[in-house]
Symmetry: C2
Subunit: 249 residues, 2 copies
DNA sequence: CGTCGGCTTGATTGTGCTCAACCCGGGTGG
DNA sequence: CCACCCGGGTTGAGCACAATCAAGCCGACG
C-alpha cells in the first residue's frame, strides 16, 4: 500500500471541470465559482490508500473528480461492509460533523477537488444554491442506500451478483448515452474483495457466483477487465428486481 | 386491516406541538409558522394501513406527530425489507419526486401533520430555514441507513436482535433523558414480523434469537410489551458493535 | 365455544461460510 | 535468464447458521 498521498495544485479551472454540471457546485454562479476556484486543492490517492479514518477529525471536504472511493464500516473483529461508493461528482464530507464515522478508501486511483472544511461550511451558510444541490445529492444517496438495504437484507448471492452487474451496466450506459437493452459491454475495475464488501458476501462466494453466471451465459468476462452482457433483460430477471425498473443510475 | 383512514382537522397549534423543536419546521419563525398552520392537515392511520403505495403519485408530505410508520421495499416474489422507520418528528416525502419509490405503512397508530406537496415545495423554495433543517435530517437518515447496512450485510442473527434492542433502548433513554447504563426498562410495541423485516430475518429466527437472549439473561420480556435490560453494556457487547459507541439515537 | 393472528418450538434442508489447495501473471532478485 | 514470491482469483470439501416446513400454544374477539 502506498504510504503517501499525492498533492497537486489545481490543474483545471472550474469552467473546464468534467464534473462541473453534476457536482455540489453545479448551481453556482460566477462569483461563487471564483471563490471556489481560490479555495480548491486537488489531491490524488492510490488504490487502497486511506482518505479518511473513522474516528479522526475531518479537515477537508470535497468532490470526486475522477476515480472511485469507498465508504467502509468495520466491526471490532474485522468484518467489513461497504456503506457508500463515491463516483465522479459525488461529495465527501458531512457539513456539521467534525469526526468521521466511516473509513474512506480509494478503490481506484482517485482525484478529489477539496476545500478546507471550515471554508466550505462558511460558503454553504451564505449560498442557498450549494445547499439546495447538497440536499438533492443527499436525497439521491439516501435512495440508493435504501435500494442497497433491500439487496443486503433479502437477496440471494446469485441475485446480489446479478444486481451488481445491472447497476454497473446501467451506470455505464447512462454515462455513455448508450442503450442498455440488448448486448452491452463495459469495463469493470473493481476487485473481488470490493465486490464482497459491497454485497455482504465472501470473496469465495463472489467468485463462485460469477462463474455460475458465466456458465449460464448471462455474462462474459473473457477479455481483460471487460464484461459483456448479451441479454440485459435476462440479467435483470436474474437480479430478482422488477424488470420495469427503467430508471437509470 | 382497516379500510379507511381517519382525517381530522388539526387539533393542535404549532406552538403546542410535541415535535415543534425537532421536526422540519423547528427553525421556522412566526410568519412561516402561521403559513404552515393554515396549510396543515392531521391524518391518522391504523396499524397495517397503507399511507403511500410505491409507484403511485404522491400528493401529500408531512411529519410524524405520534406513532411509527415503516418504509418498505418489496421484491416481485414477495420478499420484503424495511428500509426506513419514521418516528415522531421524522419527515415523509421527498421534495422533487412525485412518484413514491417505497410503500409506507403504519406500524402503530400513527398521526401525521401533512401538507399538500405543491404547497410545501413552494414554501421550501422560499424558506432557507426549512431547507437547512431538511438537509440536516436527511444527513442523519443517511447515517443511520449506513449503520443499518452494516447490520444487514455482516451481522449474525443474534447480533441483529441484540442491536435492535440496543437501538430501541438508546432511543428511549434519549427521549426520556435517562441513563442507558445499568438497568433499563422500555416499551416495545413492534411485532415479530416488523422486526424480521427490519433485520432481514424470518419471524422464526427472530423468535428463536429472542428466546436465546432471554435464556442468557440479557433481556427480560415478562411483563406485557415491556423489555428490561439488566446490563446494557453486556447487550452492546452481544450486538457486535464497538462498545464505545456512546452516541445516542 | 370456535376462530384467527401473533408467537414459539421442533425437525430438516440448503445456502453461503470456512478452511484449504491450487492457478496465474507480474514483479523482483540472484 | 530463470527462480521465487506475492496478490488476486478459482475451485473443492465440509460445516454451520438461518430458512423452510410443520405443529401447537395462547389471548383476543366474535
Amino acid at each position: 500500500m502506498p504510504l503517501s498521498q499525492t498533492r497537486n495544485a489545481a490543474p483545471v479551472t472550474c469552467a473546464d471541470c468534467p464534473i462541473r454540471h453534476r457536482a455540489v457546485c453545479s448551481k453556482c454562479e460566477s462569483a461563487e465559482l471564483e471563490m471556489l476556484e481560490r479555495m480548491k486543492v486537488y489531491r490524488t490517492y492510490q488504490p487502497g490508500e486511506a482518505i479518511v479514518w473513522a474516528g479522526e477529525k475531518v479537515q477537508m471536504t470535497g468532490s470526486v473528480v475522477e476515480g472511485v472511493a469507498m465508504l467502509l464500516r468495520t466491526l471490532p473483529d474485522g468484518r467489513r461492509q461497504m456503506v457508500g461508493l463515491l463516483l465522479p461528482s459525488d461529495f465527501l464530507g458531512r457539513p456539521g460533523r467534525d469526526v468521521a464515522k466511516f473509513d474512506v478508501v480509494a478503490a481506484t486511483p482517485v482525484t478529489f477537488c477539496m476545500f478546507r472544511k471550515s471554508d466550505f461550511e462558511r460558503l454553504v451558510a451564505n449560498s442557498p444554491q450549494i445547499e439546495t444541490r447538497l440536499l438533492e445529492m443527499t436525497l439521491d444517496e439516501l435512495d440508493s442506500a435504501r435500494e442497497w438495504m433491500l439487496l443486503l437484507g433479502r437477496k440471494t448471492a446469485r441475485e446480489k451478483i446479478a444486481s451488481l452487474f445491472v447497476i454497473m451496466g446501467r451506470r455505464d450506459a447512462y454515462l455513455n448515452r448508450t442503450e442498455p437493452r440488448g448486448g452491452l459491454v463495459f469495463p469493470f475495475y473493481i476487485t473481488r474483495e470490493a465486490m464482497a464488501d459491497y454485497l455482504g458476501l465472501t470473496i469465495e462466494t463472489v467468485s463462485r457466483q460469477i462463474s455460475a453466471l458465466r456458465k449460464a451465459g448471462l455474462i462474459d468476462l473473457n477479455e481483460n477487465r471487460m464484461v459483456r452482457v448479451p441479454d440485459f433483460a435476462a440479467l435483470i430477471e436474474e437480479s430478482g428486481d422488477d424488470s420495469d425498473g427503467g430508471v437509470l443510475v
